[in-house]
Symmetry: C2
Subunit: 198 residues, 2 copies
């Protein structure tokens, strides 16, 4: 015998970030009481998204197509490649700055203890791309965390080894802060005054 559907639903909500038993319960009751139509829509879109959203083969960002809209846009400047940790970080830079280059989304940061090395972040593919000579500046926009800094250091070395100039967002990011939570103004300023990476 399987669990009652209501309990299954509460369990299922717990996969969402920051959602414990109590919040999952509230979500289940809320949709059943007041959001049946919206919940039906959520179920449909969620199933479709899981099925159809993969990764762009060029920048590793989420994409429904083999190459995402930014990478496929011929008016973007391919000489500037901005490396970010996550799709949310890419979105933050895209909406806060006037950047017209292209991105590379690591989908994580170096964390040897968790088994996340250069290969898991696609840095071998990035190295190959830098070798091809199209990229002139590698803008390193990893977060100001310990792992983000280690990742930035690795990226700067990778760039130099391929005769690409590495740069780093300017001081001004709050220390230890996640990039995606930085306010637009600070982020835009830090992006504009980026310095050579060390």
């Amino acid at each position: 015998m399987s669990l009652p559907l209501l309990e299954q639903l509460i369990d299922a909500f717990r996969i969402l970030p920051g959602v414990g038993q109590k919040t999952a319960q509230r979500m289940a009751y809320h949709v059943l009481e007041r959001e049946r139509e919206g919940a039906q829509k959520l179920a449909e879109v969620l199933a479709k998204a899981i099925e159809r959203i993969g990764h762009c083969t060029q920048c590793r960002d989420f994409s429904e197509t083999e190459v995402c809209a930014v990478c496929a846009n011929s008016s973007r400047e391919r000489a500037q490649l901005c490396v970010v940790e996550s799709p949310a970080d890419r979105l933050a830079i895209e909406s806060a700055t006037g950047f017209r280059g292209v991105y590379y989304v690591l989908q994580g940061r170096l964390s040897p203890l968790d088994g996340i090395g250069p290969r898991e972040l696609g840095l071998d593919a990035l190295g190959t791309r830098l070798q091809q000579g199209e990229v002139q500046e590698l803008i390193i926009a990893t977060s100001a965390t310990v792992e983000g800094e280690a990742t930035a250091h690795y990226l700067a070395q990778l760039a130099r080894a391929n005769n690409v100039r590495p740069s780093r967002l300017a001081q001004g990011l709050p220390l230890g802060g996640e990039l995606e939570y930085v306010d637009r103004g600070t982020l835009s300023h830090a992006f504009g005054t980026r310095t050579e990476a060390t």
Copy 2:
């Protein structure tokens, strides 16, 4: 042209209680990055729950069947009827106390300004049930909010009009507090020392 699936997904998550744009975005990224299987399960269970979970015809609690498990349980004492505002409140009482009677779930509380009157809370049906003579005590477990108190007052009058003894959970509930957030001990004590309703 429809919105990209990722944006549709972020929008869809916003139906959940307390979820704004930023949280919805994190949820979408999180499931795509790390919880594809769990998200698929959530989509399935959610669709099924919306389709199959209705209300018990006896107590108005959520139920997959016409009569819920508590109401269908012949060992529960039908002379004690406990009125709660929500399924979560019913669950809190059920797990914190040794109550062996049955419940009536209002799915709200009296709020004339929002158009929620006795009819919307099923109080006409409750009156009919009290008239039938099986219920001897109406345990009023609405919340200690202004609207909860007004609802309690209405319920006490309804009980007396039908020669049913109304009782109210004892003082001890934090004032203005939502019943479902009360700790087990306080709730159990208040339930055990309930007083006659005024």
